[in-house]
Symmetry: C2
């Protein structure tokens, strides 16, 4: 089986390829511009992008959108995590969280599988955790060095191996739900 | 003359009405959902939203997008200023800027005037300034209490009267360019 993924992020692509390889699902990258709407709901962002790409390409496509939602910051950086990472980085989040007692956060992944005829399914994965006091680790990407998942052992995402992160990550969870659904559907979608 | 404005922000509406009233231009608010794409270019955001609304409504519309771009933060919060204000607020920006020497910032407004046939013009207004050490003033909205325009006398936007702000603001500049253009075109666009 094979899926067509719309992404410009090589880190995401590597993770998704690894997660889906366990289900015998191949990942090909679509050459199409990703339409990203502004919304506080990442499922809406991935749904809109997937529908747009499916219509452009005339075939089924997969789009993932993900974000880090920090409770004490009212969900910031949320759907704009990539932009916030590029501008203020981990350093900015650590500054905003200095002295803040409530360090609860969650990473959310929303994977949309869309048909050119307008049908679309969205699969979510959530990883709860806390924001570290300082960045730690060199693995992963984006905000991984400051996120400590509660399903782990106190290490940040960036201190884990690729496989350890994928096993408990928001992205791993969302794509495994997609994989099971695709397998049950026999790939007919 | 009259324009149809797509906005959900009552503060913006009041400012725009006041700015355009000097040109004898009335502002009516369009009842349509504003499509907002993610982009680091606010002109692209307002252009896309205006074209979308013009096609939905079958008439010419005006959309404004604006953002605060802070040099030391690589342009943050930029196109996501409204979201960033709702989540981390002025307090968050002041925290990010604590101890930062380069306090240069600019407010940018991009006003798009779109026809249902796909023609669109974008008018920009820029106000350069610096970020204050603490919020000051109760006027305006959003990041106004922390922005000190260089065309002023050291007060923040929020410490100015409504008329003082409009005279030098990014929004005032952009809408006055639109107004002159509309007047010269005799409203035929």
């Amino acid at each position: 089986m094979e899926i067509l993924l719309v992404t410009g992020n090589p880190h995401k692509l590597l993770e998704i390829r690894s997660i889906l390889s366990e289900f015998g699902i191949n990942v090909r990258v679509a050459r199409v511009r990703k339409l990203e709407v502004q919304s506080e709901d990442i499922a809406e962002i991935s749904r809109t992008a997937a529908l747009h790409a499916a219509r452009e390409l005339g075939t089924t496509v997969v789009v993932e959108d993900a974000g880090l939602f920090i409770e004490a910051l009212n969900g910031f950086p949320g759907p704009y995590s990539a932009y916030v990472f590029r501008t203020i980085g981990n350093e900015g989040i650590i500054r905003l969280m200095r002295g803040v007692k409530n360090r609860k956060a969650k990473f959310v992944s929303a994977v949309a599988y869309a048909h050119p005829d307008g049908r679309v399914n969205v699969f979510r994965g959530i990883a709860k955790g806390i924001i570290s006091e300082a960045p730690r680790g060199r693995g992963g990407f984006g905000f991984d060095p400051i996120f400590i998942p509660i399903e782990g052992d106190g290490r940040t995402y960036a201190e884990m191996t690729f496989e350890e992160k994928n096993k408990i990550s928001h992205r791993g969870k969302a794509f495994r739900v997609l994989a099971k659904w695709l397998t049950e559907q026999g790939g007919s979608g």
